[in-house]
Each structure stands twice: as structure tokens, then as C-alpha cells.
């Protein structure tokens, strides 16, 4: 303390050239945190929001009260989903580097925060993801070809060329549309859950945002509404330490955990090891059971690390140590689950290599299939006149007129610099008048 006020500007613990420093990440030993009954009062379980729920110990055994006791076959499925998610991400990044898609966002290192909740929830539960939860699509079985077609904006694009890559949606799979405006899905998830309760249905909602966007008002709207109406919703904060170049301290992570905001709003907060598949699964199960029993919402903070760049437009070597991920104390979710399965005698390095090869081949096959529907640069592409559809359910007259204007312009567009070109402006003007 000093005798005058002083502005505090958070500083990242390590910048390029520095030695990575994760001493600020408070850890609990695996198995150390008690697992309260799902009906526990918020005031009695505040410790969950400051400690760290972990199941996998350093010897790769599952220990303690949060062990969800999943069957080895389920763990193998979880591993498969995570390996497939990573193989898909790696391929799409390479494809972006080749210039065949405009943009991509990997989830490397964070696969468990999507795959484990995806498996712990029921198919009828509604998911409101952010842009780095592609593992949910893998769990719910959307074909990678379809996701690739979206990234390609081709003739099979679910978004009909209207969204940047990775902004998927899937109504039949109960996965909501991804928005580029951060945190907007959070109050929407609360509203969806309120509606489920109003209708007396058993489904719950779950949403994900990054720790950076907890600073948005929408985060606080969501917590307020979810808490006030005890909406059956799980609100996941993926604390991957970095929001582009902004480290988690700028979202308020220096003075308290993100999970601790839950009890402040009257809901449980669980801080969980986001790279521990079993712990994330168990925390989700706990929150889901509580929500289905009218116990209301739970805020879960997943402590993880964004191993990749924010997006293909980002260069993290400009703002953080290159080897930071290697120093991350909670490791790699895929490696940890793999070693656990090996420790159980239910997996081997050889089987793992074979799985990776199989899934890489699957990704290759999906890509071959996807490009049959066209690429953004080479076509075939959708008729641009489709851009006027779905603005409203029924096209109003002013949009119908504009569509005809575009069609007329395209009809007179010369294929390649012919003599027609000279008259193009004149013709376009006359068409516009007629339109």
C-alpha cells in the first residue's frame, strides 16, 4: 500500500524471450477436493470455486471422489474424439496455409473442455458453444466433411457462404450457431434453459466462453438471469490463459478465480483441471444432475492452455514465450488420457499410433469429399443471388428487387475483357433504373 492511488496495469508473467512462469496457477493435488452432494447449498461448497478439481494423478491413475468411474470403452471413445478433433484442426490449419480456406481456429490443448462435457451431457441437451469447441461436433457425430464444406463456403456449406470458417451450427444435433461477437451466446443459453423449465422439459443447456469475454456484459446478464430463475444451464468459462495477446489478468483473473464469480451470483462455481478428461466429465455430470433436479445453474471454470495461435491470423510468438505450452503444468489432455488408459492396461502406444493414422486417413477422405462440392476460390460456388434469402422468412419486395438487380448485372457481365466491357457501366446503370 502507498499513500496515494496508483493505477495497476496487469502484466503477463512471461513475454517473448522470458522463461515461462505459471507460478500464478494454483493447483490442488489430484483427488484432494471433496465432491459434495449435488443438492448442496452454494454457501457450503464455495471451496470448489477456488481449489482445483483433478482426478488424474502424476502416475496416471484416477483418484479421489470426483473419479467418474467411466468404463474403459467410454474412455477410449473420449480419446478417439479428442485425437480426431486434433487431427481435423491440424489438417485445416495446413489447408488454410495453402490458401484454400480463408481462416481457421484450432482447439489444440483444449480438446477435453469440449469432448468431455459433450459426452457427459444428453443428446437432447442444447449446446451454445464459442468458436473453439469443435470437439462438440465430433462428439455429436457431425460429419467432418460438412464442417469442411462450411470452412470452404462451397455448395454444401450449411451456412450458404454467409459465415466465416468455423462458425458452424447444427439444429438437428442441438448445437447453436457460433457468433463472432463474443459472449452473446451466454444469456441466450440462459434463456433457452428458462424456456425448457417453463415448458417443463428435462433438457438442459450448456454454453462456453473464454475467460477473456467474461468481461463482456453478456456474461453478467447470463449469470444474473440463470441464477435469478434457477435456469437449468451449465455455464463454462474456458480459461486458456490467453485472449489473443491479452492474458487472463486483464479479465480479472489476478485477484480471484473465474469460478469464484459463481458463488457471488448465488450459484456453485467449480474450478476444474480442464486438461483432465475425467475431471471435466465429472464436473459436468455433477452440474447436469443438479440442473435436472431444479438446483439451477453451475459455473465451471476449465483451467487449460491455448496451445495454438488464437487463429490463423495470429502470431503468438509476438506476445508470449514460444515454449510456454511445454511448461504448462497441466499437460496435454490427449497425452494424459492416453497414459491413463495405458496404466489401466486398456491401451498401448502402438494402438495410439494406429488410431492417429486411421483418423488422419479419415480426415483426408473427408477433405477429398468436401472439395468435390467446390472451394471458395475455384468453385463450383453457390448462386450469389441466394444471399438475399433467409434475411426474413419470406423475402420482402425490396430484397426481391435487389436480387433481380444483381441477377441482371451478372447476366450482362462479360466472361473476359471483351468489347462488351466498355458498355458495362452504362448497361448497369440502366438496369439499376429499371430495378
Amino acid at each position: 500500500m502507498t499513500q496515494r492511488s496508483r493505477l495497476h496495469v496487469p502484466n503477463a508473467p512471461a513475454r517473448p524471450g522470458d522463461k515461462p512462469d505459471f507460478s500464478y496457477v494454483r493447483l490442488s493435488p489430484a483427488g484432494a477436493v471433496p465432491r459434495p452432494d449435488v443438492t448442496a447449498a452454494v454457501a457450503d461448497i464455495e471451496e470448489l470455486s477456488t481449489s482445483l478439481v483433478r482426478v488424474l494423478d502424476d502416475s496416471h491413475n484416477a483418484v479421489g471422489p470426483w473419479n467418474p468411474h467411466l468404463e474403459p470403452a467410454d474412455l477410449q471413445v473420449g480419446l478417439r474424439h479428442m485425437v480426431l478433433t486434433r487431427a481435423f484442426d491440424d489438417r485445416m490449419q495446413r489447408i488454410q496455409r495453402q490458401g484454400r480456406i480463408s481462416f481457421y481456429m484450432k482447439s489444440t490443448g483444449e480438446e477435453a473442455v469440449a469432448v468431455a462435457p459433450g459426452m457427459a451431457l444428453r443428446p437432447g441437451d442444447m449446446l451454445f458453444p464459442s468458436y473453439r469447441n469443435q470437439g462438440l461436433y465430433v462428439v455429436r457425430g457431425r460429419s467432418l466433411t460438412d464442417l469442411m464444406c462450411q470452412c470452404l463456403s462451397n455448395t454444401n456449406d450449411m451456412c450458404k457462404g454467409r459465415q466465416m470458417p468455423v462458425m458452424y451450427h447444427w439444429a438437428k444435433g442441438n448445437i447453436f450457431s457460433i457468433s463472432g461477437n463474443l459472449a452473446t451466446q451466454f444469456p441466450q443459453a440462459a434463456g433457452w434453459a428458462m424456456a425448457a423449465a417453463i415448458k417443463g422439459e428435462d433438457h438442459i443447456a450448456a454454453s462456453w466462453i473464454g475467460e477473456g469475454s467474461t468481461a463482456e456484459a453478456d456474461f453478467h446478464y447470463a449469470l444474473t438471469f440463470a441464477s435469478v430463475y434457477r435456469a437449468p444451464v451449465i455455464l463454462n468459462v474456458v480459461n486458456n490463459q490467453w485472449a489473443i495477446s491479452t492474458f487472463q489478468g486483464f479479465a480479472g483473473g489476478e485477484r480471484g478465480t473465474f469460478a469464484a464469480r459463481g458463488p457471488g451470483y448465488g450459484m456453485p462455481g467449480i474450478r476444474v483441471d480442464g486438461n483432465d478428461f475425467l475431471a471435466v466429465h465429472a464436473a459436468t455430470q455433477w452440474a447436469a444432475e443438479r440442473a435436472r433436479m431444479s438446483g439451477g445453474p453451475t459455473l465451471i471454470e476449465h483451467v487449460t492452455y491455448r496451445a495454438s495461435a488464437h487463429s490463423t491470423s495470429d502470431d503468438p510468438s509476438r506476445y508470449r514465450p514460444k515454449d510456454e505450452w511445454q511448461a504448462w503444468p497441466l499437460g496435454d489432455p490427449i497425452v494424459r488420457l492416453k497414459k491413463h488408459l495405458i496404466a489401466l492396461g486398456e491401451w498401448s502406444e502402438d494402438r495410439h499410433v494406429a488410431l492417429e493414422k486411421e483418423l488422419e486417413a479419415h480426415v483426408t477422405a473427408c477433405w477429398k469429399e468436401a472439395v468435390k462440392y467446390g472451394t471458395l476460390s475455384e468453385g463450383p460456388s453457390l448462386d450469389p443471388a441466394t444471399m438475399f434469402e433467409d434475411v426474413y422468412k419470406h423475402m420482402p419486395p425490396h430484397l426481391a428487387r435487389q436480387r433481380e438487380e444483381l441477377r441482371a448485372l451478372r447476366a450482362i457481365q462479360p466472361k473476359n475483357g471483351s468489347a462488351e466491357q466498355q458498355n458495362l457501366d452504362e448497361q448497369a446503370q440502366s438496369v439499376a433504373k429499371e430495378g
Partner: protein, 338 residues
Amino acid sequence: MAYMNMVQALNSAMDIMLQRDPRVVILGEDIGYFGGVFRVTDGLQRKYGEHRVLDTPIAEGGIIGAAIGMGVNGLKPVAEIQFADYIYPGFDQVVSELARLRYRTAGEFSAPVTIRTPCGGGIRGGQTHSQSPEAIFTHVSGIKVVMPSNPYDAKGLLISAIEDDDPVVFFEPKRIYNGPFDGDPHKPAVPWTSHPKGEVPEGYYTVPMSRAEIVRPGNDLTVLTYGTMVHVVEAAVRMAEVDAEIVDVRTMVPLDVDTLCTSVCKTGRCVVVHEATRFGGFGAELVATVQEACFWNLEAPIQRVTGWDTPYPHAFEWEYFPGPARIAQALKSVMEAA
């Protein structure tokens, strides 16, 4: 038939829709137990229960965000934003989410949310209870924008809005909630029982969100207007003693271009009147639309009479408000031109 003021007519619309359609829910600040600060939702919670008529936290972004989620989950939410001036915390949810959800998902998801919000001045509300922000919303693709000028239209349009599968921002000119207002604040208030559009069927009916209405036929010039200003224009027309055709736009998006332009092509003169600020206002869109279709029929430049381009001042409300004298002057000037 019964006489209703606009508050009663809007209440009746929601009552009927809550009765007819179990998917309809109403949410907003003070709207449940209390019945709304303007009484528009009075009695609805008692009748339909607190699961269908929900009091909410004071968080417009949360109200609209939650309404979107409810809409995605099969409900038809009617959200009240207590004053249009308070809508801005929810603006991102309207513009980036509600308006574009159908588009960005190629029709897979949509949220049929109606946002009701009282707008306009003349109630000594100062700059935070008097705004007319309709043009901010007409600029956004994917939402419909409505502003009725009387009880009959208010009820019929609100039922249309709630039934519509697209999102609607429904502006309610609060100065005329209890009676038509001719722009003179010193005259005693006039009740809706004195106005033919105060006669409102008690049952279900709709007014389509695609049609303007000619509220006074005339031959000399056309006045395009909406909301409170419809009544102020009627007074100004009497004052200027011109045979004006007054068109109540009613629905700004989608706009009934045919009715507007047919009238202007017939009269050859046009004045556009709204209470909102002028620069970039909805009047600019009306003027551009009319001149595209009617340029060769126009006898004089189109004029706009609007609120000044300042915030809405508390003490100088009636100097700010585009009253009948200012409008009458514009009508005469357009008649004298050329």
C-alpha cells in the same frame, strides 16, 4: 366494438395472444406483478401466471439475449424494453444476434421475438425518456420495424408482430397512449373515445405489417409520417388549409413503397414528418425512395420537418418538438414552390 386507448388495445393484443398460443411469453422490467410502468401489461400475470408473464432483472441485454434463447427453444417471447432510450444495452443482441440468426444459419435457427418499447417525447421526459430511435433499427437487415399511431392499428399490428416468424421491433409512441395529440400541449387532453380509431374490436384481428394507410385523402400534396406525428400533421393541415393527403407509414420495414409513391405521384408534392432527429433519419430513406419513383411528377423539392439534430432537451421540449406551426409552414412553402 369497444373504445380502448392504446394501452388497453396493446394489453388486449397480448391477452388474446397469451390465450391463443401457449408459446407466447411476456418478459420485461416491472411488467409482471406491477403491470408495467405504463400499465400496458396490467393484469396479465394474474391471468396467465408468473411463468408466462415474467418480471426480469434490470438488464436490457439480458432480456433480449434470454428472449432469443427462448425463441430458439420454441417460445414466442414478447419483450418489453421500458423506454426506447434504454434499448442500447441490448443493441448487440438485436443487431448481431436476433436480426441475423436466420440468415447466418441459412434458416436452421430463428427467434420470433417481438420487442415492444415506448418511444417519443412530449411527456417532459428529457433526453433519456423521449427518444425516437427507429432509424437505428430500420438500418438493420433482418428485423421488421413498426410504429402504430392509434389503438386499432396498435392492437392489430401487435398481434401480427407476435404471430410473425421474424423478429419485430415495435415502437409505441407514448405521448398518444391515452389520447390523440395534436401538438398543442396547452390544450386539454383528448381521449381516444373522440377518435374513430379508438374503436377497437375486443377479439382477434390483425393489421398487416406491410401496408401504409391513407388517413386523409387529398390532392394538393402528400405528407408521409407515422406515430404521434400523424395527429400533429392533421392539425397542421387544418392550420395551413391545404388539401393534403396524409399517409401513415405504420410499418417502416418492410416499407409499403407502392402506397407512398402512388400518392406522391398523384399530388406531385411531398413533405416528410417525424419526431426523430433529421440527419440520417428514416425521413431521408422516405425522401430517397419517393424521388426515385416520383421524380418526374414532383413540382417542388421534398421537405422534411423533424426534431432538431440535438439531444431531446428537457426545458425546451416544445421548441424541439416539430409542432403544427412548423409543419404548416413547410406545407405552405411546398405549395408555393414552383
